[in-house]
């Protein structure tokens, strides 16, 4: 089977590689690029642990072919804030105890970035539906919802300050 040359931007850096047709994007990110912040949970697009942003939209990278990402702009959990700093969502998950074991957290945060972009001021119900494709087996979700609420408020303040 022929290899395919792909070029994509990951966290602002251009990456070029030769890949098999069947290489899943999550494996490319974790195994070829050694970026292990993106997790593999269910591997069946149910749990959301592998959620990343492709051209700004949350996508489950276990169900996406690397070849299809040719030309795309990809963001993973490693790329959402400069080294040594936290994204408002990361800070909020820390402040609000939005995690116990942390396995679902990168996916939760990547999904929440997309959620807050399309709906900057979500209700509790909208948050719960918004993260319905991301499973957490520890927290019971309450603190995750609080985290997203805190981040929404902080991001709104930041936006106001920057205007």
């Amino acid at each position: 089977m022929a290899k395919h040359k792909v070029t994509m931007t990951i966290n602002g850096k251009s990456v070029t590689a030769e890949v098999d047709s069947r290489l899943l994007l999550v494996h490319f990110i974790r195994e070829n690029l050694d970026m292990t912040g993106t997790h593999i949970g269910c591997d069946t697009s149910s749990c959301g642990a592998c959620t990343i942003l492709i051209d700004g939209k949350s996508v489950k990278s276990c169900t996406y072919l690397t070849v299809r990402a040719d030309g795309a702009e990809i963001t993973t959990i490693e790329g959402i804030a400069a080294d040594g700093t936290n994204h408002p969502l990361q800070k909020a998950f820390h402040d609000q105890h939005g995690l116990h074991c942390g396995f679902c957290t990168p996916g939760m945060i990547m999904r929440s970035i997309d959620l807050l972009k399309t709906n900057p001021n979500p209700t509790e119900k909208e948050i719960r539906w918004g993260i319905s494709g991301n499973l957490c087996r520890c927290t019971g979700y309450n603190n995750i919802v609080k985290s997203v609420q805190q981040a929404a408020a902080e991001m709104a303040k930041e936006k106001e300050a920057s205007v």
Binding site: M1, D20, R22, T63, V67, D114, S132, G133, N134
Partner: protein
């Protein structure tokens, strides 16, 4: 899980995709959003030798009204359906359904064309298409064709699409005064396939008499199913609680569900009865607004 080996081909235009399909033959499959096909490939339920990626074809993602038709491009994602102002305002049945389909990240990829072309009676859009009496537009080696929805679903994962055909557009009669639609499915957990689902579209005249009615059922038969007997009872009548009750009973009788992990046959017959009644009431309420 990694899919079996296959060869990937990207099509930039419809023509290119159809030519590729002709060249590669029956072992080639089109992929749009990939969220039905790729999971099947990972589980080795599907082992195509070639994948033709049609997701990058330009000009197949739109929602517009032209003449008396609502036209939806096949590559329109579920997320785009969810946030479209016209659909929100005038076709709330789409909001009902998309909200319950998978989850937001899957909806960012999954397309309406793929949801229908997959030919899976468990998908939500087929029931909507039946209720709304859609026409499916496809393009293949022999050019363009237009397929009424009642001729589209042939069997388990089988549709009227011939090898090489690409579903390009969905056409739905534009919403009329005094019309309304509604969809609901019972699911075990958020984002699951339907245990059973019902789509209803009703058109009333000024006196409240039912002029046209469509009822489509999700996942209670091998093929997406129209509840013909139920439609016949309501067409041409003023819809009363008694008639709605009757149609519910018919839905429970005519559905052909099988017992599985989502519930027993009897349970599914019972819930399809209940949802049919609820959706008739909800669609009526919207039609009367």
């Amino acid at each position: 899980m990694i899919p079996a080996n296959f060869n990937y081909h990207k099509a930039n235009t419809l023509k290119e995709a159809i030519a590729l399909s002709q060249e590669l033959g029956e072992e080639a499959k089109y992929m749009s959003g990939g969220h039905s096909l790729l999971p099947m490939m990972k589980l080795r339920f599907a082992t195509p030798e070639h994948i033709i990626d049609i997701s990058k074809i330009k000009g197949l993602s739109y929602i517009k009204e032209e003449g008396n038709l609502l036209k939806i491009g096949a590559l329109t994602t579920q997320t785009e359906l969810e946030h479209n102002p016209n659909l929100k305002e005038n076709y709330p049945i789409f909001g009902d359904a998309v909200w319950l389909t998978a989850d937001p990240s899957v909806r960012n990829c999954g397309t309406i064309g793929g949801n229908i072309a997959h030919g899976d009676a468990a998908n939500d859009q087929p029931a909507l298409m039946l209720a709304l009496r859609a026409t499916i537009i496809a393009e293949g080696v022999d050019g363009k064709k237009s397929i009424p929805i009642d001729d589209f679903f042939h069997g388990f994962y089988m549709t009227a699409l011939e090898p090489g055909d690409i579903l390009t557009e969905i056409q739905i009669p534009k919403t009329k005064k005094n019309s309304g639609g509604a969809y609901h499915k019972v699911e075990r957990k958020v984002g699951d396939y339907a245990t059973a689902g019902v789509a209803v579209h009703i058109e009333l005249d000024d006196d409240g008499v039912c002029q046209e009615i469509g009822i489509g059922l999700t996942n209670v038969s091998a093929v997406p199913m129209r509840l013909e007997r139920g439609e016949e009872i309501l067409r041409g009548k003023k819809i009363t609680d008694e008639l709605i009750e009757q149609v519910g009973v018919i839905a429970g009788e005519d559905a052909e569900p099988e017992s599985d992990l989502r519930g027993s046959e009897a349970y599914k017959r019972s819930i399809v009865n209940t949802i049919t009644k609820r959706m008739l009431n909800k669609a009526l309420e919207r039609a009367r607004k």
